[in-house]
Symmetry: C2
Subunit: 307 residues, 2 copies
């Protein structure tokens, strides 16, 4: 169950918009207020009926019993300064940032003693951004990771977990630093690699842009989808999860050099053994319900295209 | 229009199976014969009704006016030796290999003078393999690249192009070496990178396999789909397109080091500019009809799952 009577969304992008849709879908009688720094985004959010859109973050959080910061990680400190004095006593403050240690360091010191701060990260998103990209099903069957602080009251953590479950998500709790390492592996470095590969294709003068575009179906297309994600969000992710990203990147290049050498030396058996092992992880993901075995490579999306 | 009366498929995996289904879908009265080295695959192909399945490649190609080699690139030479003496006069020989220069070098010297050899590569596939993975729509709206030899008669090339169009594909012709470079960018290196990243996740003892699997929705999942592709096929691709793969890999690591340094030095503006440029390529792919703007990240496939 939702468990809150007034939810304030600070920042009105894809995640905040999807939160608004998913709260409405739950049927709970929740008042939703919201704010974005951008007047154009506020106007769009009003048109979309996402809630009562207010001109300042301080007004948006006034009286809310749950405040969720939905701004890029790099903007968390400024927003925390704006809202901290206006948080209602007993209100829970949370966020949806992709990095947790940096958000905690940016936000926690700015809060009044006794503020119930429970950082969170829903592992959900698409390659689109902005309030128009949100939809109620975004969190269905997706994980939301809570990274409570040592002094977070268990009741506040459990109440927030129930909120996310009511929106369709599965919930787990995790140490913030471990979260940042796990996400470096499952999200941050894969995004950086995809951005890099798309950049290489863009620079290569011997292959035309049209060739890259036309013949993308052979594997590259999935990279371009990942590399179309919001630039501001991802800049902040890499800058604020620097250590774990560089750690995993180091392991990645080390491993890539091993495979590169195997190709150069013509070591077919080593390559075959490597490519066979990676299939097992794929099977695990399908069994865990985080994807299906249906052949995709973009085909399912094509079949559904109704534009 | 199909244009041939008897098509022989040597090798009975995903592509050959899809060829059989797509030929049947066209309604043309074509005799289809086939062979696989594996008795189990031959039995499965018979059960699936893919055509007349024969115990040797030589018998399968007997009397065919189009023979398509659908075996891994590394097996092309052996198969060419088996079938060359049995090719009917005037028959067209083609293939579906992901690399073209190596296939030409393996096959052409084994053919009788005057054999109509027109190498081809349909840019279509899924992460599944084997005859059971084939389906009639695989080539719809996908490119098939023909890489004719200097002595390929234009009429034979045009006839093969019409065949692929009748199966739903778009057709282009290209120099074999340029094909191998373009595919290194759009397919081979992206696959190697995906395999590498999945391997890194598999090795990392501080992050459990269950965490990688559960939290894969944040970007990593698309990599695992790519890295679940057929190990034998991909081993052969990398070994037989070694130079272009190593060339593009070198550019990739160079570029990755530039981004890695920008992260280490905290150069936010450079990162933001880079991530903004890569969005344009994505838009081009959508406009070229090789994907849709529908938000995906696996969600469309989930919605369609009927298992």
């Amino acid at each position: 169950m939702i468990g809150y009577r007034h939810v304030a969304l600070v920042g009105l992008g894809l995640i905040a918009s999807s939160l608004s849709h998913a709260i409405r879908r739950s049927g709970a009688p929740v008042r939703i207020t919201g704010h974005s720094r951008s007047a154009a985004t506020r106007d769009e959010a009003r048109r979309l009926g996402l809630g009562e859109i207010l001109p300042t973050a301080a007004e948006a959080v006034d009286g809310a019993d749950l405040v969720i910061l939905c701004v890029p990680v790099g903007a968390m400190a400024v927003v925390a300064d704006e809202i901290a004095p206006r948080l209602a006593p007993g209100a829970t403050l949370s966020d949806v940032g992709s990095v947790k240690r940096a958000v905690i360091e940016a936000v926690a010191p700015r809060l009044a003693p006794g503020t119930l701060f429970v950082p969170a990260h829903p592992l959900a998103g698409t390659e689109h951004s902005g309030p128009g990209a949100g939809f109620a099903q975004l969190f269905d069957n997706r994980w939301c990771l809570l990274t409570p602080l040592p002094d977070s009251p268990p009741a506040a953590v459990e109440k927030l977990a129930a909120f996310w479950r009511a929106l369709g998500a599965r919930v787990d709790t995790m140490d913030p630093d471990h979260h940042d390492l796990v996400l470096a592996v499952t999200s941050h470095v894969p995004h950086l690699i995809a951005y890099t590969m798309v950049g290489v294709a863009d620079h290569l003068s011997r292959v035309t842009a049209q060739e890259v575009i036309d013949y993308s179906a052979a594997g590259f297309r999935d990279f371009t989808r990942i590399a179309a994600s919001d630039p501001t969000m991802w800049r902040d992710v890499f800058l604020s999860n620097r250590e774990a990203t560089l750690d995993i990147l180091g392991r990645f290049t080390e491993e890539l050099f091993v495979l590169q050498r195997a190709i150069r030396m013509g070591e077919g058996e080593a390559l075959h053994a490597y490519f066979t092992r990676t299939r097992a992880i794929r099977r695990g993901i399908i069994e865990a319900g985080q994807d299906t075995a249906a052949p995709d490579f973009g085909r399912a999306a094509l079949a559904q295209n109704t534009d």
